[in-house]
Amino acid sequence: MVSGWYAFFRVALGWIGKVLTQCRVSGTSHIPREGPFILVANHESILDPLLIQTNCRRTVHFFAKSTQFGANALFRWFLPRVAAIPARRYRVDPQSVRTALRALERGDGVGIYLEGERSWEGALRPFRRGSIRLILKAGVPVVPCHVSGTYDAWPRWTRSRWRSPVHVRYGEPLHFGVHDTRAERESALEPAARRLRQALLALAVEPPHRPWPTGA
């Protein structure tokens, strides 16, 4: 279900995304046409949710750190309208999981950054166990999505942006099945994490290896 504000911002921010980056998108056919799904993505820049949500035809409720919901009045107004789910990072947050499961029950998509935060160095960080537990509990198709180039455009350690080429790649959905009990989820946690990491890395473009400069 696409709400009016979400549809408006998808178009408006889509234009902003085009101004800020030279964005290419591939593999959108892997996004289910209907029914619930979870979209998992790497996270290198604040531009990532903008580029994913504006290039995905389905509504995606992304987890966002709760701190942003208190940052200022604009963010407090804006974030719920682009279907952001506040996730408290300083404590276990069952309410954010309930909100995500409700969105899936309605047939929407839920977006998860498995690393839980933007990468400092532009490489895939360890995954949050809670996110993988949610995937195993939900039992819906999981669409891997790799965004490359946003680290060059706007990494987390700078205020300055650069208009650089960005590629959003969606991969084939993964199916993990439903794991109803806690014990089932715990035993499936590590294999699921490995599979998700492989799926994201398979979509990534390996940067060329450059030896450390010696001045010679």
Binding site: K65, S66, T67, Q68, F69, G70, R76, P80, R81, A84, I85, P86, A87, R88, R89, Y90, R91, V92, D93, Q95, S96, T99, G116, E117, R118, W120, E121, G122, A123, P126, R128, R129, G130, Y151, D152, A153, P155, R156, W157, T158, R159, S160, W162, S164, P207, R210, W212, P213, T214, G215
Partner: protein, 205 residues
Amino acid sequence: MALVDLCYRCPQCGHDPMSGEGDVAWCASCGVRIERSRGRLLLSLPGGDRRFDVSALDLCRRIEEHGGPITRATRDGGALEYQARARVSWQLSERAVRYRGVLRGFAESMGPAAQGTITVDRERVHVECGDRRAGSWRHLDLRAVQASSSSLQLSLPGDQLVQLRFLDDSPRRWETLMRRLITDAYERAGRGRVVEFQPRIVTRW
């Protein structure tokens, strides 16, 4: 937010700290200069005219090889102590986030920030800011550690949350330092290997 937040010590010679401003960082010891230009990181070696493309991942690897944040924090004789100035704020409450009458979650409301300091040693973290909640906690008693682009949040016993916005130090340095000190404290106490720092510290045997 600046390049020195990422590159807080010299990836070439290990000198700590790096100097810098905005998207440029330089080493006062060996003269290496790193700058972000057109989305790339370019490194100039001392005495050379050439600029080399380097990746942020390689910079971070080199920094780790030089000892990361530990060397600067280690005193003569092996004792560890490190301090930074920060704007310190404490959580006041949690606010419900609703949209169209439906609860979506909760967000923290932070109180006013006061100038203070954070100091760490091998066993404890000390926060001073003139607030009655300021104090000292064992690393083993911390509940979670999370860094944003400019600040560090510590979850403390008793559901307290403190946020430190560094005035002249790198949040990445502090995130790495806190994680390493907590990991060491858990291992010394025989409480397993820390595998996750947020939303709570989790260990595995």
